[in-house]
Amino acid sequence: MNNTVLELKNISYKYKNDLILNKINIKINSGEKIALLGKSGSGKTTLISVLNGTIKPTQGEVKLFNKSFEELDRKQKSKITTIWQDLRLIEDLSAEQNVNCGLLAENNFYFAFKNLLNISSFKKAHKYMQLCKLHNSVYDKKIRKLSGGQKQRVAIARSLIQGSNILLADEPFNNLDPKLITTIKNLMLESVDKDNTKKSPKTALVALHRLDLLNDFDKVIGIRDGKIFFNIKRNNLKKIHLEKIY
């Protein structure tokens, strides 16, 4: 049975004269947890942006559930959630308003309006913020007043509240202390359904720098200068692989 959820076919991306991604082929199956390794500037962020449809590749095809991005409707697209390296939170909104933004896809315009006026329910947002170990004193604080670690957890909570099956994360453990990393990693990789009753396999692709965090991943992809150097099971990862990309 073909259970591929995301597929990159011969993807290249050129920015000005630089080739950022060079003929990338990746298949991500349902429930797979993949770690993406590579130096800074190797193309990890661009690859994630291509995978979530933010960047259109210069060449090649991206398929989600065997359909190209153009063929997908809004509901299907919302099955992907992203935690960006630079977080991309809305600085002027409060932490809880930002987390509620994760619910915009499943709600109407009136919800967005209520969220901005602070008259929507923040019950769900608070639940996810609690899961991310955010203290209730930060709930109504503007993003610009939060510390780096708090902002990171708000971004993670916003992503988790979407309840999407596919998670793309770009160095999500930055700014977090070791104790929090374990909790957040478990939260991100474990799938919790919206009603919190049923667990379904979550697909994740996470860009990482720290090798000690690889334990929970099934596969490891190594990228350098926009090219994939290896795409192997985690158990097969050896020093020689890492030397190729670092």
Partner: protein, 504 residues
Amino acid sequence: MNKLKLNFTSLSFLPILVCIPLGYQLINNIHFGGFKLFQEFLISAFNPKIDNEIIITVIKRLNETILIGFFSWLVSIIFGAIFGIISSNFFYKIFNIPNFFCRIIRFFLTIIRSIHEVVWGILLMQIYGINFSIGIIAICIPYIAVNSKVFAEQLETIDYKSFESINQINAAKFSSLLTLIWNPIINTFKNFGLYRLECSIRSTVILGLFGIGGIGTSIFLSFQTLNFRELWTYLWSLAILIILSGLIFKKIKFNTTNKILSIFFIAVFFITILFSFSYFLYFIFNNIFNNNFENTNSVSSLFKSSSDLGLFDFLKLILETIILSLLSTGIAISLPPLVIGIFNNNTSKIFIKIFSFLLRLIPTPVILLTLLTFNNPSVSLAALTLGLHNAGITSKLLFTNLDRQDKRNYIAMKSLGISKKTSWLLGLFSQQAKSYLAYCAYRSDIIIRETAIVGVIGSVGLGWQLQESLSSFAWQEVTIVLIAYSSIAIVGELINGKIKNSLT
């Protein structure tokens, strides 16, 4: 030989050189016939007329001014925000609409705001007659376009990455738009909206001088009858209104997290839109479909009438308008730092602040009419008037920024034995010069448009020609003058935009 190097500080003072040709013409044009009147005008400032009758008139006229000013502000700020949204690139990115439409809307708004509210007012009064709502419409038309530019500029500062992130959540387009623009719009309203209310009140006063009603009309009538004591009663009451509104709005805090207040603002927003549309439809129906306006024949003669305006005269008027703008801008830029720098002590500062407040308070036509008591009408006199009025505005900004600035450099320089004036120049003003010049670039856009007001009164430039053509219902000439005005203002705005961009 050392090369002359210009920096922002020296560039702030250089325009004062305009005073050489300006002073030469003013001295040549001086006459002593009206010195007594001028003296009387000044003395009356300390002895305004106060009795029951005038107090009742003041209250009545101020009410009219507040009503016209407030409604034109409310409508222009709300529609300004709406047009600001649809003229920002951001809107088109969210909805995947070609940017071409954005450029068309921006061009259209640039033309509208290039014509001063006084010109709109005179034009509309000529067509529809004097009417309370004409004042509101005349202010709203250019103000919507001016406000939309400010809102659009603010929306362009939204981080594109926030847009990508919301877009990736796959929210509905309108939800994404609202979430992203909400705070920039609210912040622009907080920072800019109240200043625009003050502008609306000033514009109402100026339109009043041309007969639209309110305290401006009373000011003009008392000036015409040379009743200076009465004139100062109106001017001081206007000063109290402006100071009080400033104080009240300083106290009001627009807290968007207050649910009741937010709902109230949204209700006001929608009621204003609804009311404006209803009124617009009523106006169209009443005046156009019923063919009810006064000078239908005059308007329809637009394509028939031949213009008596010769090409040479017309070019001369354009040149006069450009010279008028340049001279006024020169004064508005350089006079405040020069005066503040020379008279750099606490007592002088108080006097300069009071004087600049009076220059802002007294409408330019009144300043010009006062100066005409001892000087013949000329480009220089009109430029001096416009320059002084705008210097009152730029000096307010300069004072505010200098007061906020860190004074450690200034203190350090003074402790080294450097003179107070040099320390002020290098330790304080030099750090403000760049942002001050950027603001002056924006101010010169307004000066170009304001040449219309002094032109009408001072018999110079296109403003005077516009008044003449309107009085004789020469609609073809009116159209030509308006096109010329608009072109000068648009070119000026483009040049100032480039200067402003290079400074920020």
